[in-house]
């Protein structure tokens, strides 16, 4: 029981990394399945289109899924069209948010492409139908060009063609490794840059992330409690035909205030919108000198997410 508890705690601590690793493993596994079960290179003029589709279409679909499951995107997007006049910096804020969101959504597609290139089936098929390969392979030997399409289906032909030059498979694997190395390097550089540009210290950033998560969890619990009480009152009144007792619930404007990440003021941004709302309600909006010290620089959760 204790061991299970420890393992669970470990998983919860590192859930982001574990989440991304699981996604990568699943992508690699499904690429392997597709490659062995579904993929059959036609070995004619359709090679290029077929291979490219198998390489790129799943990557595009995974990118779209990556956007769809990103909760933060919907948080930003909901209601933004109708609130343009209230919140002029919304567009700029959204564009700034788009970069880290795209980076997170790109994990699965890039894994697919990298594993597909390493496996070499799709890219070999596509390359054997491309005009670029034809130009490179056929410059000295004219008769072999007709057979270029058949390379993925015929192993003997492939061995014969690549005795002096690098085979199509090997080329594809080299490109795959190069892609993985460059992605890793870019990820490291961007994380360094974002941490450097952070206006918040390391420990405060860490506290920030933990606070946001806790607030979200408690919000869900409180929402459920509030919804239960309201639903009980309504259903009881419906059945008993009595008048409903007054029930305090946040108004639409108050909901909007805590949902909208509209403030782009570089001097004062709060840990999270709900904290801001509760502090402005308490202090009647007065910004005292003591309060200012409490405030931290801009777009906390964006920075936290960019730093991931």
């Amino acid at each position: 029981m204790d061991r299970l508890r420890e393992a669970l705690d470990f998983c919860i601590c590192h859930q982001t990394i574990l989440g991304y690793s699981t996604v990568s493993l699943l992508t690699a596994a499904s690429q392997h399945i597709f490659s062995s079960v579904v993929f059959k290179c036609p070995c004619n003029s359709w090679n290029m289109v077929y291979g490219s589709f198998f390489l790129l279409a799943p990557a595009f679909i995974l990118l779209l899924f990556g956007y769809m499951v990103n909760a933060r995107m919907w948080h930003q997007l909901t209601g933004s069209c109708s609130r343009e006049k209230e919140c002029s910096s919304l567009r700029a804020h959204f564009c700034q948010m788009l970069v880290p969101m795209t980076a997170r959504a790109l994990v699965a597609p890039l894994t697919w492409i990298a594993v597909a290139l390493l496996g070499a089936n799709f890219s070999e098929c596509a390359a054997s139908g491309s005009s670029l390969t034809k130009r490179l392979f056929c410059k000295d030997n004219g008769t072999d060009c007709q057979e270029l399409f058949k390379i993925p289906c015929d192993k003997a032909l492939s061995a014969q063609m690549s005795s002096e030059r690098l085979s199509l498979q090997a080329q594809s694997q080299l490109i795959g490794w190069f892609l993985i190395a460059s992605i890793m390097t870019m990820a490291l550089i961007s994380k360094c840059v974002s941490h450097c540009r952070s206006s918040v210290s390391y420990l405060q950033l860490k506290f920030w992330k933990i606070y946001s998560k806790e607030e979200q969890e408690i919000f869900e619990i409180k929402a459920k409690e509030h919804a239960t009480k309201l639903a009980e009152r309504n259903t009881n009144c419906f059945f008993e035909g009595t008048d409903p007792a007054p029930f305090p619930t946040p108004s639409k404007e108050e909901w909007q205030k805590i949902s909208m990440l509209c403030t782009f003021d570089s001097h004062e941004v709060y840990y999270d919108m709900i904290r801001k709302y509760s502090s402005t309600k308490g202090g009647k909006g007065a910004k005292s000198k003591e309060e200012r010290q409490d405030h931290i620089v801009l777009s906390p959760v964006d920075e936290a997410q960019a730093g991931e």
Partner: protein, 309 residues
């Protein structure tokens, strides 16, 4: 015990994703079973019809099942024959089409999954298109092949043609390649369209994100509460009735909602921009009967989007 609770909570939070993955696996399994067990390409002039039937009939069946399983369908249609005004209320005629459109989009998920899995497999398409007698298509497929291709393409799926093995193999591979490319196109188009419509609907939403989340929680909770209270009142009423029957006594009065109250509570809900009502029952309870029979406000918002965390 705590550990299990945490694990359970983890899975409950992702139940939409798990549900869709399960549906996808079921579709893949079903498609495999069909193509191995039931599907026998006739290899004659009937190929085209046979292949298309196998491709589209299961999709139609899944669409119908999708309509059946959606409770909104029954909420929309119950009582429509007796009182057509229910479906087309005064001042809000388009609401029926809007709701029906939402229900259809939800029901279309399974058929699209079937179509994409069937096209990625290639068997049904191969059989169907090898029986297509369109001259332009035959010219394109049999481009660099022997003359026999034009007459014997429909036998290729069963390996019964008199063409050399390499040629018939290549024709099969070409047809399968076309099918798989079409399958990927279907998946990409569907994913792109659903992302764009969700973005548009989300952008034009008059309700903020957190209030929307609360609304969803409220809807689920109200449903649970309704079932509990139905159970409670049904028990009370049946106890009273059976007791009076057996003991031959006068029944004491139990207050239940009137017929009109039930009718009003069963209407589909549209969010009002000025009031803070989260459901039809909420509005009914706070405004009373007169609020419902007045002209409805312009229907604002909100697509019943799922999957938005």
């Amino acid at each position: 015990m705590d550990a299990f609770q945490t694990i359970l909570k983890f899975f409950m939070n992702r139940k939409t994703a798990i549900g869709y993955s399960f549906m996808a696996l079921l579709t893949m399994g079903g498609e495999r079973v069909f193509s191995l067990v039931a599907f026998r390409c006739p290899c004659s002039s009937e190929n085209f019809r046979y292949g298309l039937v196998f491709l589209f009939s299961p999709a139609l069946v899944l669409l119908v099942i999708g309509y059946f399983l959606n409770s909104k369908t029954w909420k929309l249609f119950t009582g429509c024959w007796v009182n057509p005004r229910k479906i087309f209320p005064r001042g809000n005629v388009c609401s029926f089409f809007y709701v029906f459109g939402q229900i259809t989009l939800n029901a279309l998920v399974a058929p699209v999954m079937w179509l994409s899995v069937a096209l990625l497999n290639g068997t049904f398409y191969e059989c169907a298109m090898s029986g297509l007698k369109n001259p332009a298509y035959l010219d394109a497929v049999c481009q660099s092949k022997s003359e026999k291709c034009f007459g014997e393409l429909h036998k290729v799926a069963c390996d019964k043609s008199s063409m050399p093995f390499s040629e018939s193999e290549e024709l099969k591979r070409t047809l399968q390649a076309q099918s798989q490319i079409l399958g990927w196109c279907v998946i990409v188009t569907t994913a792109l369209l659903s992302l764009l419509t969700t973005c548009c609907a989300s952008c034009q939403s008059k309700v903020s994100h957190l209030q929307l989340m609360f609304w969803r929680v409220y809807e689920g909770t109200e449903k649970e509460q309704l079932e509990q209270i139905f159970q409670l009142y049904a028990t009370k009423l049946s106890e009273r009735n059976l007791k009076c029957f057996f003991e031959n006594k006068e029944p004491e009065p139990i207050s239940l909602p009137a017929f009109q109250a039930w009718e009003d509570a069963s209407q589909l809900y549209s969010f009002s921009n000025s009031k803070q009502h989260y459901s039809t029952i909420h509005r009914l309870v706070e405004e009373g009967q007169k609020g419902i029979s007045e002209e409805r406000e312009t229907m604002l918002d909100l697509a019943d989007r799922r999957e938005i965390p």
